[in-house]
């Protein structure tokens, strides 16, 4: 099944308050319910545009601000398969891989909303099918690949009885 790029109107410094407002992080515990409110303060109804497997595409410093883990959790529950951005804020970066959400770092200026994308983590390549171009991505660090493959840091921890093999 084809997957598509979903872009917000703003591109840079999308903070975790925008991903999921503090209003909901206390109120809603169910991840699928939480997902219905992502980016609500920026663009109401954005959630409805996401089809399972889609990519959320942004610019620099995605996920800055609050450490709330509800941000990557809600994004994952919304059905997106990965975030594609030029750069990420560090707490969000760790949180995402910890909960099993893949983050891809690459040039995103030339990816438009609705472009069809294919991700190949082994080849470090993002294929923009609509534009017929291959975009090179920054290799996902080995630690993060391990967490991702395990389904998140907790599953990794459980499978290895600790952090053996991380460093």
């Amino acid at each position: 099944m084809a997957s598509f790029a979903r872009r917000l109107k703003i591109s840079n410094d999308i903070n975790t308050d925008y991903i999921i407002s503090g209003r909901y992080k206390f109120k809603i515990q169910d991840h699928k319910e939480l997902a219905k409110h992502i980016f609500e303060d920026l663009e109401e109804g954005f959630y409805k545009r996401i089809k399972p497997g889609d990519f959320l595409v942004a610019g620099d410093n995605f996920g800055c601000g609050s450490s709330r883990e509800q941000a990557p959790v809600a994004l994952k529950a919304s059905g997106i398969s990965a975030v594609v951005a030029r750069s990420y804020a560090r707490i969000f970066y760790r949180n995402a891989f910890n909960v099993g959400l893949c983050l891809v770092e690459c040039e995103t200026n030339y990816i438009d909303d609705q472009d069809e994308l294919e991700l190949d983590l082994d080849k470090n390549m993002l294929v923009n099918v609509s534009k017929g171009v291959n975009v090179e991505i920054k290799p996902v660090p080995e630690v993060m690949r391990k967490f991702l493959e395990a389904g998140g840091v907790i599953d990794y921890f459980k499978a290895h009885g600790g952090f053996g093999g991380v460093t």
Partner: protein
């Protein structure tokens, strides 16, 4: 090879010489969560299948973000926190104790050279105490809670030198806003920033905390300072821990270096909707403000309250102004009571909240109406941060906040002449 403060602290905690770019497993000295993050810490901890927390005394939970609870959902989270604490024998700072970033150092949990993790992004505050403290998410925190460790990528470091002496009416909050406005919200992503220079040295430890607190607003992993006599005296007063200051080697390598002279700095204001949207006060003077909030982990300490109270003393806030004062801890609240500051606030027309995060997080205690504007001493002004996406937030110092509350519009505190005060005056 020479090391920065971050490289040294991660070396002592991982048992190997660590340098920027290395990935290390490090022992965590202390970790904690707050009520917005602890629910997920508990869930993650339970999923890990570990029976006991790694070390009881090295962990606590603080009920500060939405306290007392404004709704049933939050009440359930608070209840879950208390039950988990009882089950595992760990400490809870319950409703009314204060903000985590005030309580953790105030109760002596932090000393020089420590490695501290908090499930709150402003954990970088204790960099002012020469500790590598940084914010993480709930699952990362649960990992530390269960194992006493976590993995770290040793960060590159940047040096920010702040020289000169601050003019009257200009404070550490103005300094850090000015720096963030200059470098932007992502300048220090993944980086350990070390603040140094005569203007930093001249500040009280509390005022230094304001600077370290906001290091994350430029993306930094931590906002470290060297320890001096003020630092060690402060820790001695609050803690029985050993004090082993960590200084960078003279030829340590810094990815970036920046220098500022703040001798002529004007009061700074961060305008909606980003923290790096900063200007001198004269560019925004006169903008109508409906609510002023004084408090939070950035500026809710005793000296912040005193700076504001001296401006407000014997005066009334503007008609229709909602002035909300939130002491950062119970101790600060009591000290402010004894010093007569609370009376000054109430007399001026302010509402004084219980210690905690107050209206900063947008869940209670001062949610804005559509079209309203707030002036806050907090650290974030993102759209919707104070609970309503159709409102706007300006950030500045407690002095600017107090001056603004009196006028009902953004006002220059320097107009208050001899009422301007700073610790040591």
């Amino acid at each position: 090879m020479a090391q920065t403060i971050a490289e040294k602290i991660l070396s002592t905690h991982s048992g190997r010489k660590a340098y920027a770019g290395d990935i290390v497993m490090a022992d965590v000295d202390f970790c904690f969560g707050q009520d917005g993050t602890s629910g997920m810490i508990i869930d993650s901890f339970r999923r890990m299948g570990v029976e006991n927390v790694f070390k009881r005394d090295n962990f606590c939970m603080v009920i500060d973000h939405s306290a007392p609870s404004p709704n049933i959902g939050v009440s359930a989270i608070h209840d879950k926190i208390r039950s988990f604490a009882a089950e595992h024998g760990v400490r809870v700072f319950d409703v009314g104790c204060g903000v985590c970033h005030q309580l953790i150092p105030e109760y002596g949990y932090v000393s020089c050279g420590d490695l501290v993790l908090g499930a709150d992004s402003h954990t970088c505050t204790y960099g002012a105490l020469n500790a590598l403290s940084t914010g993480v998410g709930s699952t990362d925190l649960a990992v530390a809670l269960a194992s006493g460790k976590n993995w770290f990528k040793v960060p590159e470091s940047a040096m920010v030198r702040v020289e000169g002496s601050l003019p009257k009416g200009v404070y550490s909050k103005d300094v850090i806003l000015h720096i963030i406005g200059d470098v932007g919200a992502d300048w220090a992503n993944y980086i350990s920033v070390e603040f140094t220079g005569s203007a930093v040295t001249a500040l009280s430890v509390e005022a230094r905390m304001t600077i370290s607190n906001m290091a994350v607003e430029m993306g930094a992993k931590c906002g470290l300072m060297k320890a001096d006599r003020k630092t060690t005296d402060w820790i001695k007063k609050h803690s029985t821990r050993d004090i082993r200051p960590v200084s960078p080697d003279e030829d340590a390598r810094y990815l970036y270096e920046k220098e500022y002279d703040v001798s002529d700095l004007a009061p700074q204001v961060a305008c909606p909707d980003t923290v790096d949207n900063v200007c001198d006060i004269d560019e925004v003077e006169g903008i109508p403000i409906d609510e002023v909030s004084i408090g939070t982990c950035t500026n809710g300490r005793l000296e912040d309250l005193e700076i504001a109270a001296r401006i407000l003393k014997g005066k009334k806030v503007a008609k229709g102004m909602k002035l909300i004062v939130t002491p950062a801890s119970k101790k600060i609240y009591l000290d402010a009571l004894k010093a007569g500051l609370i009376e000054i606030f109430v007399d001026s027309g302010a509402v004084v909240n219980n210690p905690g995060c107050g209206p900063c997080v947008g869940t209670h205690q001062g949610v804005l109406a559509d079209g309203e504007a707030a002036f806050s001493t907090a650290n974030r002004n993102f759209k919707g941060r104070m609970g309503n996406p159709n409102s706007s937030i300006y950030l500045g110092s407690p002095a600017t906040a107090a001056a603004t509350a009196l006028e009902g519009k953004i006002s220059d505190p320097r107009a208050h002449g001899r009422r301007l005060w700073r610790p040591g005056d």
